[in-house]
Symmetry: C2
Subunit: 220 residues, 2 copies
């Protein structure tokens, strides 16, 4: 066939005030100029891969490098883009709010995924699938840690899992699961606030787990 329009789009997710938020940016060019949409762009000949294209787009549109970026799925067809047959390799990124906040002030709009406006292209569907992926992985993976920042207390981390899974978790079984996954280490001598309680130990991902996602295998 003639040229397929090849793009990447990124669903950048963070948690602000206990809500899962997605970052949108105002489109500079037609189609849909001026509308809020997922940050994205064309694949360039200089990109080493679509992953690299997504990283390049992220840096250009946000000014930072997301700590976690993964390919979600490829969305395609003759109707999704008025310019012609197109394909977008969608990625999703998880970013602590402290990292995205300053960028959002300038060029990104954070919108709750629970109250998403109508988005151009099939970006609404792309956001839904990213959230579904995130929720399904939260049941047994280290993904929520990437939303919690570099260091966190166990109650803060448990809250991330609860927000993503949409249910309250038992503290004892949460801590047992974290122990089984063996991916956290205490930061020696570092303590965080813990409400009315005494300061709580701060944890971080062990180095081996900082660049990849750990999943807890559960045999039948």
């Amino acid at each position: 066939m003639g040229e397929v329009i090849c793009t990447v789009d990124v669903v950048l997710l963070t948690i602000e005030q206990e809500q899962l938020m997605v970052a949108l940016s105002e489109r500079e060019h037609v189609p849909f100029a001026g509308r809020l949409a997922l940050p994205g762009g064309y694949v360039h000949a200089q990109d080493a891969s679509v992953f690299d294209a997504a990283m390049r787009v992220m840096r250009a549109k946000t000014g930072f490098t997301p700590p976690y970026l993964e390919q979600l799925a490829t969305f395609s067809g003759p109707q999704r883009d008025p310019r012609g047959w197109s394909l977008s390799v969608a990625h999703y990124a998880l970013v602590p709010f402290e990292m995205i906040g300053p960028a959002a002030a300038g060029r990104l709009s954070l919108v709750p995924v629970a109250a998403l406006p109508e988005l151009p292209f099939d970006h609404g569907q792309i956001v839904s699938e990213a959230v579904a992926r995130l929720r399904s992985k939260s049941h047994y993976s280290s993904l929520p840690c990437f939303l919690a920042g570099d260091v966190f207390t166990l109650p803060q981390l448990q809250r991330m899992y609860e927000l993503l899974m949409g249910e309250a978790l038992n503290k004892v079984s949460f801590r047992r699961k974290m122990g089984e996954m063996d991916m956290l280490e205490a930061v020696e001598g570092a303590f965080g606030a813990a409400g009315a309680h005494r300061p709580a130990q701060l944890y971080r991902l062990k180095e081996a787990y900082r660049a990849r996602v750990m999943t807890l295998e559960r045999g039948l």
Copy 2:
């Protein structure tokens, strides 16, 4: 950028004589004409999506419609295809051996994934990722049922899970898990061979599960 070469490739998997096999076809055109590779082809303007392109390629190269086809991931870069910057949206299909056997006799070669020859492009990596996806999903999904055929006995189904998971399963807990997932129904009055034992009840996926994959959610 200029034109990105957009293709789809399919990792067609089956189990023959207790081995996980992948179907390869001989390439008709350059590059790598005459070499065994994953069945694949260009995305066409008439395709409604890359999924449709993968289905079209499957029908053209095998003569049948796979009962289960899912997008795996998109592989891309300037080096993977000598023709230029290319992108392949890889899919994987699960097919009972009875369906693939006759097709394989004519135009497909079944090769054990454990003894894969060197493949052109990055097809070796694509096969590895498909097998990894299948194995990870086997722990809690209905995927192995699609390898077992339309009807099967519970011992046959358990053997599919064991082959994919690479471990022996306890019969009682396997049956309890199948009960929890509630996706099977007995075929009334139909029995299959069961070695030296009396004939075993035949089962099939409930209709609601025949077109999609069921996963057993496991909370923390």
